[in-house]
Symmetry: C2
Subunit: 623 residues, 2 copies
């Protein structure tokens, strides 16, 4: 990996920072955040502005360019990558280290008095704007919105914004029609006494209208906004996709229906002016509901007194609780996904000893097996296929420069998943194709104990996921070990593989309480730099638990694994498991045999079935 040469680009950027064509007054600094106008985690190529200007293409990072300096803030996952990808024009700001200044503090330290700091108001979330603006103002500077994105003005070969065809999802997939979703949303709006709701997150637009797209890799979403009034529905979307007959029929665009369900289709780019018109026409006490992560531009369109901001929108919360149709879809998707992985692992078991399988080949083979399954759409994220020391790089993705050959002497970690029309999968298995060392087995077993502790946990209704995080670490902590990432994230239903508002993490963020129907991942790990990585991940469904007593009639919850892929017993030191843990593994493998075995049989995949049966032999604990 050689760094991107950015001298000329930075020169151009610094010119436009003073060019009256783009800025009212020259800006002494320009901020280039990671995200897009929808605060998406995964972004389209046309939105990779920070990567364009700096060369650094990790998933998280903020660039700031002043007349003299160019600096990049990123976190521990990306220190090495950013250092490799950026040239000497750039200073790497390692977030999380004690001596690293915040963006605000750094700006204050380098800017001349009374400076203007520019940022694209469509890209910066309102809450970030507020924080940064306050800090700059108290030091005598100003954060100013620059309407035209300055990177776009110098990005001559910037790719076009994708505008791909849409998929319509019928009731058998979604369980609830878009009309009923609108009705439910309006009732939430009425509860909070708001007249308008602005849908800015791409997965929320997709979920609300039971539509899917492919504008962004791995996330089945499409570029759009929506503004829902008590009697109006406005959908802001570009291209001729609204001309597609199935889409027109799905949205009933040509039907005569009650005016409150009539969808007005408007150009994607008209959201700001339309929202400004809404803002200008509000009567006192008419509030507009937005996520507090919505862009500064859209938030500002509504006068402050009329804004109703919440960290999670009612759509985000409703979307997290899967209904029966979605749950059944997720189950089906996970069975198909397990079939693909049984095929893959059976194939790897035969091929790895030959020394011809690289990380990339293994990842491609996984995709090939998945693509043979019904309703497969695409992968749900870039496959992490890593062996030996590469496994210790938590967000590793094999590229030709790092591609390593799988062997019978190293641990192999595969974290992968797919989008099927009926559900989204995300599974990690850690395997050894030779004989693992006692130490590797010991570490694997601690991780497994943590995985089971979460998966089998029983907890009261209303418990927030972060209260379960330590269960996953306890066995590792007892031996002085740990892992530096959260334990789980919400998973969408044929939607984003990472979604809010619930999760399992030691980081106390505003997670919403877990409730039956929510779906999260359970993925503790252990990573030894330079040696190996271990992670065991299932996607699990929150379900009611039967308990002996029922304190205050609150009811209890637990998890049901949706992922049904064998956990390699060769890696387990059975003597470190309690009887209860051993029974959990055996019961899990019994279910894998029963459910996935039947599907392998049905698909006539007899060799993979043989592998499944071998890999799910019950463990026996020494008495």
């Amino acid at each position: 990996m050689s760094p991107k040469i950015t001298t000329e680009l930075l020169k151009q950027l610094r010119q436009v920072m003073k060019n009256p064509k783009y800025v009212q007054e020259p800006v002494q600094a320009y901020i280039v955040p990671s995200g897009d106008a929808h605060q998406s985690e995964y972004i389209a190529p046309c939105d990779c502005r920070r990567a364009f200007i700096s060369g650094f293409d990790g998933s998280a990072g903020t660039a700031i360019v002043t007349e003299q300096h160019a600096a990049m803030w990123t976190d521990g996952r990306y220190f090495l990558q950013a250092a490799h990808q950026m040239d000497n024009n750039w200073t790497l700001m390692k977030m999380g280290l004690k001596d690293t200044p915040t963006q605000e503090d750094w700006l204050v330290s380098v800017l001349p008095e009374g400076s203007k700091v520019g940022v694209d108001p469509f890209i910066i979330p309102a809450d970030q704007w507020k924080r940064m603006s306050k800090a700059l103002r108290s030091a005598g500077h100003d954060l100013v919105p620059v309407k035209e994105n300055l990177i776009d003005t110098i990005w001559t070969d910037c790719p076009q914004r994708p505008c791909k065809p849409l998929i319509t999802l019928d009731l058998s997939y979604t369980g609830v029609s878009w009309r009923d979703k609108i009705v439910a949303l309006r009732s939430k709006m009425a509860e909070r006494k708001v007249m308008w709701f602005v849908v800015t997150a791409l997965d929320e637009v997709a979920w609300l209208f039971n539509l899917r797209g492919s504008d962004v890799e791995y996330n089945p979403v499409f570029f759009a906004y929506a503004v829902i009034g008590m009697n109006t529905i406005r959908l802001f979307i570009d291209g001729d996709r609204m001309m597609d007959p199935p889409v027109r029929e799905h949205l009933q665009l040509d039907s005569t229906l009650e005016p409150e369900f009539k969808i007005q289709v408007m150009p994607y780019g008209s959201i700001l002016s339309e929202l400004q018109a809404v803002g200008a026409g509000l009567s006192p006490k008419e509030k507009v509901w937005l996520s507090d992560k919505a862009s500064y531009a859209l938030t500002e369109a509504i006068p402050k007194a009329y804004r109703y901001l919440t960290p999670y929108t009612p759509i985000c919360i409703a979307k997290a609780v899967k209904n029966a149709a979605e749950t059944e879809g997720m189950r089906r998707a996970h069975i198909k996904d397990a079939v693909a992985l049984c095929e893959l692992f059976n194939w790897l078991e035969k091929e790895v000893p030959k020394g011809t399988v690289t990380e990339i080949i293994a990842a491609d083979k996984a995709e090939e097996f998945r693509s043979q399954q019904k309703d497969f759409v695409e992968l749900s994220f870039a496959t992490i296929s890593s062996t030996g020391p590469n496994g210790a790089i938590i967000h590793y993705k094999p590229v030709p420069e790092t591609n390593r050959t799988l062997s019978v002497n190293e641990i192999y970690l595969l974290d992968s998943g797919a989008q099927y029309k009926d559900g989204t999968t995300d599974v990690t298995r850690t395997m050894h194709f030779g004989t693992p060392s006692a130490y590797e087995k010991e570490c694997f077993t601690y991780v497994l104990k943590g995985h089971i502790a979460v998966s089998a946990a029983i907890f009261p209704n209303g418990t927030k996921g972060h209260l379960l995080d330590s269960f996953a670490r306890s066995a590792l902590w007892d031996c002085g070990l740990d892992y530096l990432h959260g334990t789980g994230h919400g998973v969408g239903s044929f939607l984003n593989v990472h979604e809010g508002p619930c999760g399992i993490s030691y980081k106390t963020f505003a997670d919403e309480p877990l409730e039956a129907g929510m779906i999260v991942s359970d993925e503790p790990g252990y990573y030894e730099d330079g040696s190996f990585g271990i992670r065991i991940e299932n996607v699990v469904l929150v379900i009611p638990a039967e308990t002996k007593y029922n304190f205050k009639n609150r009811g209890s919850l637990t998890f049901e694994p949706l992922t049904l892929v064998p956990i390699q017993t060769k890696m387990i030191d059975v003597n470190l498991l309690t009887e209860k843990e051993c029974n959990w593994v055996n019961e899990y493998h019994r279910k894998c045999r029963e459910v996935v075995g039947a599907e392998l049989e049905r698909q006539g995949r007899h060799e993979a079935l043989g592998w499944l049966l071998r890999e799910t032999e019950p463990l026996a604990r020494a008495q």
Copy 2:
């Protein structure tokens, strides 16, 4: 309990709310918070203004009186008590229930347009002022500071502010001189580039100067403020206590010493004007450090641009980490406390079957035994002595109306503690003096499992206490049980029995990471309304843990119990314990025998020693 008749008082208060002698403009509402000017948890009688105006004397509650209404906000612990103590003039606002309005929302709903809401700026913390002021302003009202406390103007027989003699603590108790504490504080101030630090919490003043008082029951503190500059020390304190020779010598008031250690003693009431003078004399970049919980009055004395506010002050954080002298003192205090409790429980075992011991008699007897121990000062909180159904009232304190006789048929819960000159104790034991039922034993054993899970937990350096809370609940959760309070709080060293900045609670507050030397309580419980209460509480010291591995060289921590009082084995269902848990109990009891046994022997308390030996027989688990 008959309610306080408040008709006349409310009439008087509503008159002064319009009286130009006290208010510049009439206020349409007046807020009466719980606290004192130092945001203390325990307050002096002269500060019980909310109890005076309403009759409700629970530890938490806020009264608001308007021209038409009088309303009281309190939490679930006090719904019953508040309902009993208040007359019909008052509306009880049950916090935590869904339909209960916030104080701001309620004010907005009842006030006429453009109202003024008054509050004593010395009583309301700055962060609360900010929140409330913003909410009122956005609805067209104003929060205004009313300098003279309006309750005080109508409280004709208000008790005087206490002004009791001080105790000086020498190095053998404190480990660090007040001069060295000032030096350390100034170095923290230099790090943050602040020129002044304002000490507002009473326990912080006491800790800083190695002084103790008795102005507030249970808390060995005294009314004072301090303002520490880089070269000056100002102590704001009333009465002739500074004339006491030992105090003068301790503070070196009559010595010629370096000017930066010369303490200027000033009247308690002059803090505001002195701080305003500091505020007026600041040069640019000279900041003043305050807790964000300091009163609005003192915070406002410093112009906004010069304030440096943090949730926890450097004193709060330094105070939490006990040094060797303090730790040794705490150990000694806990041994003496255990001696007193062995005497008590031995006595109860003999007396309870006679049917003559009430909750109050038992509490008094506990105090009597404690007062026989060296360096005993007072109790550290009101003893919770509760039997049968009273045990289920978490913050119960026996009074004649509720006083119940202990019997061999009911569970007895005793949560009590004392202030010794060398340390503060807080211990809960739950006993049965007859034969507990299988269900009572089952519940007790789950609570014990939770207690052990926290006490024996090993966790990385830097872990925050709230990450351990679920360990205490896991065994209860498995059976559908739980308890509705946190698991632990910080404990002072001959200081407040509740102190920040660490704790163990599911409530995610900004707790500071645990570090070796911190002291917290470990007190899970289970409460069955109308039947019984169970709680097992030890005070535990955070200590380094030896582990097999050491991930990232972070080091690990665990707890050492300071409390050494037997846990009644009669209440334990041994079959529900794991081997590890059983060993923990046996090792704990072995230590009680060894350490407390030796002290009982030394004090010639042979009968209590006999009780200790009987109660610490090792448990045997069926194989």
